[in-house]
């Protein structure tokens, strides 16, 4: 709906400004590939070591998130009770790339970052425990609606220090009261730039050369 207070119209007479309540926000981006890493926050890594997994969760191992599981801000996460009884949430930070490349240094990696976006890393812990017997992360995080993303991407020019951020996750449950999780990306967090350079380079991980295309995570 056209914001009635706005006299600015596009060349086809279309509205340019919209009141926030007149639009429906979607996931800010559906990437072509979503490289997901584990152990990004050292405290998460320490928690994981206590979870009784059969295999160790090494920091910064890389796996693919199912992009079809992505949903937008305030869309509902569906709890598939026929599959899991142990749903967990975890606030994470993603990097959106703005150019293709491979075999670059940690210092060069910063020039590939176009923006940052938060997402909720929903995990079915009971499924994860079973999958971990084979040393994999897959279905436990990739079920429909398990990846709420956004509400927005903040461009990199507005975030001079990605290690000094506050993030907030709100959980609205049917029944029990809402839960809020605040988390700082501080000194205890993993550095995404060496990860970008060292963990996702085609040669080391065996991905084909288009694995770092623009618009991917």
């Amino acid at each position: 709906m056209l914001d009635q207070a706005s006299p600015v119209l596009g060349v086809r007479g279309e509205p340019v400004f919209y009141a926030a309540e007149d639009v429906r926000l979607k996931a800010p981006i559906i990437p072509k590939k979503f490289f997901h890493t584990a152990g990004n926050f050292r405290e998460h890594h320490e928690e994981a070591t206590k979870a009784g997994f059969s295999h160790p969760v090494m920091p910064w191992i890389v796996f693919f998130q199912n992009v079809d599981a992505i949903i937008g801000h305030e869309e509902s996460v569906i709890y598939p009770e026929h599959l899991t009884q142990e749903l967990d949430y975890e606030l994470e930070l993603a990097v959106v790339l703005k150019k293709s490349g491979k075999h670059f240094s940690p210092e060069q990696a910063r020039s590939y970052v176009g923006g940052y976006v938060i997402f909720n890393d929903i995990t079915a812990r009971d499924i994860q425990r079973r999958e971990m017997k084979s040393g994999v992360f897959s279905f436990c995080k990739g079920i429909d609606t398990f990846c709420p993303l956004g509400p927005w991407i903040v461009t990199a020019d507005e975030i001079p220090d990605a290690h000094n951020l506050a993030m907030e996750l709100r959980v609205k449950r049917r029944g029990p009261p809402a839960v809020a999780l605040e988390q700082d990306v501080g000194e205890d967090s993993g550095d995404p730039f060496p990860l970008l350079a060292d963990g996702i380079q085609c040669g080391r991980c065996g991905f084909n050369r288009d694995s770092l295309r623009r618009g991917c995570f």
Binding site: V8, V16, F17, V23, P28, I29, K99, G115, R214
Partner: protein, 86 residues
Amino acid sequence: MRLVSFENSVGQGRIGAVAPDGRIVDLNSACVLYLRDVEGAEACARISDAIVPADMRGLFEGGDTSLEAARKGLTTCSIKQARCSE
């Protein structure tokens, strides 16, 4: 910029930026205005569709060229809006 994907009132998928007052600025339309009014481009709509498409992945695929064009569109429309409010 705070970049969003949104669905407008007629169900079109668009991308936008959050203005300081909280409103959403349609970046493709804003870039068309920038190209027409500041750059004097005759094919402003076609150029905007190419460099600031209505799809977020397309915007990032355009790299700095596209992000800068989006920023200029946002600035142009914010200035227009401020002048209209005076």
